[in-house]
């Protein structure tokens, strides 16, 4: 995991800055049609490049790949350090993938301030890429915060809800509040590095090489936890999510629900940097309880939601509970499961949001009570609903099954009770989705549904198809994805699983090369 593999071309920087540049370029565009095509082209190229990266990625290793390193703020030891490993590489691809779909989705659904919209989308893509690609804590933090700006505008300016401004502000404030704590956690880490090595450093690899006493690890853990928990969001910190996802526009909801940056942060930073704290029984206990609470709470609340989007919000919270459970099971299956689940949610939950968007386009609302018998009017929509919904429930053959299965396996390994409670979440999920499906898609055609309603057009059809394809690919042949993760996950497990000894014992060989001499 601590090896670094260089790549001739600064592919990660390209992935980060190409959308930025693209956003600047389209600023100059006047023709809206050209604008859309250009945006699609940019997003497509980005997807191509990230696919190329995935192809060149060396699987089954913990090494940091495509590493780029440049000094940024030398006195503080902050450097522009980008790299991906098994934990993050798939997120990069997922981001590029979702962005293309978003652009397609927005093609003629977004009618106001189109230029700004596409600029925001590209900027958002760039910052999210930055989050997944950076392994310097501060650089990570920078992108973490920068991401707020485009998302803020997206929610505020293109949100369909009445309270979109409130939602936008709430989202930004909550995240900022959390990130202040996270920054403190990072700062404490760096200070500790200073104590040991007499220099500051925010580099993940440097920080991993120093031993940190348990007490401090715990303190730092909770600081970082706050930052991540607000973003994830883990249950008591989730109150911004319903607002942001229902008041914001569909593209924003897709990004927020599809890309689990908060839980990614645990795997990226908390586990490797604070292994002792991460396996501390109190921490694990609390996190498990929170995860289970999220599963159950999210699922129950989801059941009673009359609005499809709100339903999706709480289902997303519930799924996040699974991810947490899997992570803190602290075994290979659990962590791998939660990682693949995070990816899966990018297809399933995001996909459901797309579908909700399609509904919204046609009906002007997503209220279950108002619609019934959609299948009669829109069979294609119903099919995609079924496919993606099944993935969300975790039906075998879809990607959801792989993830949830691995998580439950891990949870049962950790303690059977966790597994037992978590299983209820699966049942609930089936319940709320199927109930919704039954009510909205089947049943008699209600007269609230306009007669002239049309089925999916080509563009929407492509979106659905792409998502379905991914769902089935992972569901049926997951091994390419799992292989990419294996090395890193194994390294993580080595570091945090209760069986291993103190991390510092491994220090000698964990120390990166550039500090050896």
């Amino acid at each position: 995991m601590q090896e670094e593999l260089q790549f001739g071309f600064p592919i990660l920087s390209f992935l980060i800055f190409f959308p930025f540049l693209g956003a600047l370029v389209i600023w100059g565009f006047k023709d809206l049609d050209l604008l859309k095509k250009a945006t699609l082209g940019i997003a497509g190229l980005e997807l191509l490049v990230s696919a190329l990266m995935l192809l060149r990625f060396v699987p089954e290793t913990a090494a940091m790949q495509f590493s780029e390193h440049a000094s940024w703020i030398p006195p503080l030891g902050i450097s522009y350090h980008l790299a991906v490993d098994g934990v993050s590489v798939l997120f990069v691809g997922l981001t590029a993938f979702l962005t293309v779909l978003l652009v397609l989705y927005a093609w003629d659904t977004v009618t106001t301030r189109q230029k700004e919209f596409y600029m925001s989308i590209l900027a958002l893509e760039a910052t999210v890429m930055g989050i997944f690609a950076s392994i310097d804590l501060i650089v990570f933090f920078v992108f973490w915060e920068l991401m707020l700006i485009p998302s803020y505008f997206l929610i505020k300016l293109w949100g369909p809800g009445e309270h979109r401004q409130y939602a936008a502000l709430k989202y930004v404030l909550y995240t900022l509040l959390g990130s202040v704590f996270m920054l403190v956690g990072f700062a404490l880490l760096s200070l500790h590095h200073f104590d040991v090595k007499q220099v500051y450093s925010f580099d993940l690899l440097d920080l991993m090489s120093i031993p940190i006493p348990l007490g401090q690890q715990l303190l730092i853990f909770w600081f970082i936890f706050l930052g991540l928990a607000f973003k994830a969001p883990i249950v008591p910190f989730h109150s911004w999510l319903p607002d942001a996802l229902t008041q914001g526009p569909i593209p924003m909801s897709v990004m927020l629900a599809g890309l689990k940056m908060g839980t990614y942060g645990f795997l990226r930073f908390s586990f490797p940097l604070l292994p002792d704290a991460s396996r501390d029984s109190t921490v694990v206990g609390i996190l498990m309880v929170l995860g289970l609470a999220a599963i159950v709470y999210g699922a129950i609340v989801a059941i009673i939601q009359p609005d499809f989007r709100r339903l999706l919000v709480f289902s997303s919270i519930s799924h996040l509970g699974f991810v947490v459970i899997g992570m803190f099971a602290l075994n290979f299956q659990g962590i791998q499961g939660s990682l693949i689940t995070m990816i899966n949610l990018g297809f399933s939950t995001a996909g459901l949001f797309f579908l909700a968007g399609f509904m919204w386009e046609r009906l002007g609302h997503t209220d279950v009570r108002q619609c019934s018998g959609l299948a009669k009017k829109m069979p294609q929509l119903a099919i995609y609903f079924l496919i993606i919904g099944m993935a969300s429930i975790g039906l075998p053959g879809t990607n959801g099954f792989i993830g949830e299965f691995l998580i439950l396996l891990g949870a049962f390994q950790a303690w059977w009770v966790y597994g037992a409670i978590a299983v209820t979440g699966v049942i609930f999920a089936a319940a709320y989705f199927l109930w919704f499906y039954e009510r909205a898609i089947f049943g008699p055609l209600k007269d609230t549904i306009p007669a002239a309603i049309k089925d999916l057009n080509t563009r929407e059809w492509v979106i659905g198809l792409a998502l379905s394809a991914m769902i089935f690919w992972i569901g049926i042949y997951p091994s390419p994805f799992l292989r990419m993760m294996n090395g890193s996950v194994q390294a993580l497990v080595d570091r945090v699983s209760p069986g291993t000894t103190m991390a510092q014992q491994n220090m000698a060989h964990l120390t990166p090369d550039r500090y050896r001499n």
């Binding site: 030398p74 915060e145 700006i149 404030l173 700062a187």
Partner: protein, 531 residues
Amino acid sequence: MGDYALLIILFAPFLGATALVFIPRREELLVRLTAAVSSGIALLASFYIFFAYDTAKGGYQFVQRFSWSDELGIALYLGVDGIGGPLVFASAILLFAGVFVSWHIADRTKEFYIFLLILAAATIGVFMSLDLFFLYFFYEMSVLPMYLLLGMWGSHTKGYLSMTDPEGLKLRDSVGFIFNFGSNSKEYAAMKLTLFLSAGAVVALMGILLIYHFSGLHTFDIVVLREKAHFTGPLATVIWFLIFFGFASIAPIWPLHSWSPVGHAAAPAATSMLHAGVLMKLGHFSIIRVGYEILPETTREWIFVAAILCVFSIIYGGLVSYFAKDTKYVIGYSSSSHMGYIFLGMAALDYISLTGAVIYMFAHALATSMLFAMAGWVYDQTHSRDIPSLGGLVERMPFIAGAFIIGCMASIGMPGTVNFIAEVMIILGSWQKYPFQVVVAVFGIVLTLAYLFKMMRGLFYGQLDPHYAHTSDAKHWVDRMPLLLLIACSIILGIFPGHFLEVVGSTVAPMLERINHVAPLITQNTQGLLH
């Protein structure tokens, strides 16, 4: 340019002001262009010194020395180090931006630009003076134009007490009574500001004279005093405190701060920008220049005072900002609160934190002036600064709203802006020495977040009062340029801080070396006895 860069920066605004005196007042465009050109020249030259500063060499560069009065040992001795250079740069940026922000001032345009240029030139003068006399000279000179700028082009404040506030919270009333009694007229604000600053200045002057006298060197030359003057015992303490509190009153540190928000609130936009942006930094800068350079041992001994007071600054300023209803009060008190960070960074006497403090001075200059510029724009359009009565302005002025948000982000310390780097450095660097203060500072960041967003929401979202339906956005390039300039500077330096850090570090490192590692004077004296 080279060696004469400092002279150009210093005298371009002065000459601009002189030229303005002779331009007929009818020629308003010519007046504005003259101001713009002279400030533009200063900006270019300061750009040059900022980037041409030789970080490997360090120390004072671009030095110019003209004997002024041998009788008193005074020379016009100019030079910048890694602290003065960036601040000169910041002043020039703000001046240039300020000229454009004030482009639409129609009442007595000529006088306005004359005073603005003098104010900026004097401020720049302080940052490049290597002579105590001229330091004080420019320092005092910068105070007076403020008075007129505030008085003539300022606006009355209703005060945050009497603003729309049906509940009438008790805290606010008592706070106001203690710290802001008196009228809320612009005259009051101007007078309060001037008298406070003059009082601070004379206290500092006392300290300067004591240095002059007791050094026995018969010179005001900082470089010479730094090398040769040694102050010990109670005398050094007295001098240090005079210098510290004299200059801290402009900074402003907590118990001496009450002039500042009132002044900010009353001042026209460009003045607030310069005021909050660079004038307040005169205090920190002078404490570093005089206190740290000439009295290193005493600084080491007593600087904890700053660390104590900064807690009050941060908390008090933050709380009042949170409760204030006037945009400029919010920004003003937020500045006052943020000054606490600089003091914290200075107090820790740590390489990282002091570097952070210097960068923070620069960063805060850009961020706060952005906010003031936009608050000024909103005020010009709506003639109101009362947050509760405003709202929904985003519909009328999307550009301003967007820029305002970026300004708020910068002020909070959003990554990607130079503020972020500064904040992180201050927090990290002072953790070892002042953990409690760091905790307070972090709390302060959260508070900043809260009140700036509260203000933003109040101004731009919600229901648009039909009364303000006629307001317009900044559409012309003249109006947008200053904001974009400030934003661009903040972000570019935030992303590429390398040179900046080297510039500051090249000065801070030897300075701290001196402060932290000079042998205590007692041993020096005994050594003297032994030899």
